[in-house]
């Protein structure tokens, strides 16, 4: 009789950096065209939007452009946002902001074919979930950021949207105009490559 295989620990729920509750009073001011309210919203979402754009595109100037375009769209359409109705059963404002930011960043990625690269996958039906313990180098922010930056942009985007933002494969497929299988395969191969890079770095520093 063999011992049952250890069940992996429950994965950490993604905790988006966008998840900020914005006071309704501030949104009302922004809907009224108050410039100061716009700026306050900008200050709140500057880092989440820029970080997301940087992780997806990998270029700081591009990320700054994404930040600008995202904010201008938000301010231009803020009157259309009707998500959170105060009863807690609508979409939060931050979710709306994030959706616009992701769309902007991915649109630029698609536009720039030079960077919109992905790991080639022959068989898109083989998805290996990675539940193994992380290499210790994953705890080093600088090393992890370097490894992420070395991934093809599309692959990195799938990893970021899935792990950091908590999107499902179906949602990623819709956002990237691809299939859920594509998202799953990129996640599996990208995670494997990321793990390899971190382990190599670890050996180099050992």
């Amino acid at each position: 009789m063999t011992a049952p295989a250890p069940t992996p620990a429950a994965p950490t729920p993604a905790r988006s950096s966008f998840a900020i509750d914005v006071p309704e009073a501030l949104l009302a001011r922004a809907r009224g065209g108050d410039r100061a309210a716009f700026e306050q919203l900008y200050r709140w979402f500057e880092r989440p939007v820029f970080t997301l754009a940087l992780r997806i595109g990998g270029d700081r100037e591009e990320a700054r452009d994404v930040l600008q375009d995202t904010m201008l769209k938000i301010f231009g359409r803020i009157g259309e946002f009707r998500g959170d109705n105060g009863r807690g059963d609508g979409s939060p404002f931050w979710g709306w902001v994030r959706q616009i930011a992701v769309n902007e960043a991915l649109m630029r990625l698609r536009r720039d074919r030079r960077t919109a690269q992905e790991i080639g996958v022959e068989d898109m039906t083989v998805f290996v979930e990675d539940h193994a313990p992380l290499p210790p180098a994953a705890a080093d922010a600088a090393i992890l950021q370097r490894a992420l930056a070395a991934l093809p942009a599309t692959t990195r985007s799938v990893l970021w949207l899935y792990h950091a933002e908590g999107y499902t494969h179906d949602e990623i497929a819709t956002l990237m105009q691809r299939t859920a299988s594509f998202s799953k395969s990129q996640l599996a191969r990208g995670t494997k490559k990321l793990r390899t890079m971190l382990e190599v770095t670890e050996h180099e520093h050992a």
Binding site: E39, Q40, P48, M71
Partner: protein
């Protein structure tokens, strides 16, 4: 015996935790000025009496520093005075010359400066005074403090650039405009923060989970 020295108790449990622990980034150059320039014509909200009260307070606060500047222009009380001296030793000393010679007990109203740089100096000084009155650390909360600290850091960066020798006039104008804009932002932020505090609200956005 297995080597466990590499196992850190602070190591992330999974990729979500590892990615979530990465520091957030911000652009190397503040993007707000560019966004503000591209915004369609804004109308200011004046619907709330409380905001009118804040505006009245701020207007009063602008007048007071102006009067103080006219009477004691050499007082090195504010950051702006220091910066002005370091980049413009001649202009920093000019405002009191005329009024000292006038010898009157009632200060004569001074004509508004026509030089754009002088205008920016004046606006900057006024806003510094307003900010000193608007800021109230007793109503500070976590996220709000961080936003304010960011703006302060931005101001410090501008001041550091203004202290560079041999700045061209165009560069000085750009930096002083940025300084005035940043100060305006800070004043607006502090005013709103106080308004929210009065109404039992605060800036701290509670982080919520994405399940």
């Amino acid at each position: 015996m297995p080597d466990t020295t590499h196992v850190s108790t602070g190591a992330p449990r999974d990729w979500a935790e590892a990615f979530g622990a990465l520091p957030q980034e911000r652009p190397d150059r503040d993007a707000w000025q560019d966004i503000a320039r591209r915004l369609p014509g804004q109308r200011r909200s004046v619907r709330w009496p409380a905001l009118l009260a804040v505006a009245a307070t701020l207007a009063l606060a602008i007048v007071v520093p102006m009067r103080l500047l006219e009477r004691a222009p050499d007082a090195p009380a504010t950051r702006v005075a220091t910066t002005v001296r370091s980049t413009h030793p001649t202009t920093a000393a000019t405002p009191n010359a005329g009024s000292a010679q006038a010898g009157t007990t009632t200060p004569a109203s001074k004509p508004a400066p026509t030089d754009p740089l002088e205008q920016l100096y004046a606006q900057s000084a006024q806003l510094e005074g307003v900010l000193a009155m608007a800021r109230d650390d007793r109503v500070a909360t976590g996220a709000a403090t961080e936003v304010a600290a960011d703006l302060d850091a931005q101001l410090a960066r501008i001041d550091a650039q203004l202290r560079q020798p041999d700045l061209s006039r165009d560069r000085q104008l750009a930096l002083w405009r940025a300084r005035v804009d940043t100060l305006g932002t800070l004043v607006g932020f502090e005013g709103t923060r106080r308004w929210l505090a009065v109404h039992g609200q605060h800036y701290d956005g509670a982080l919520v989970r994405v399940d």
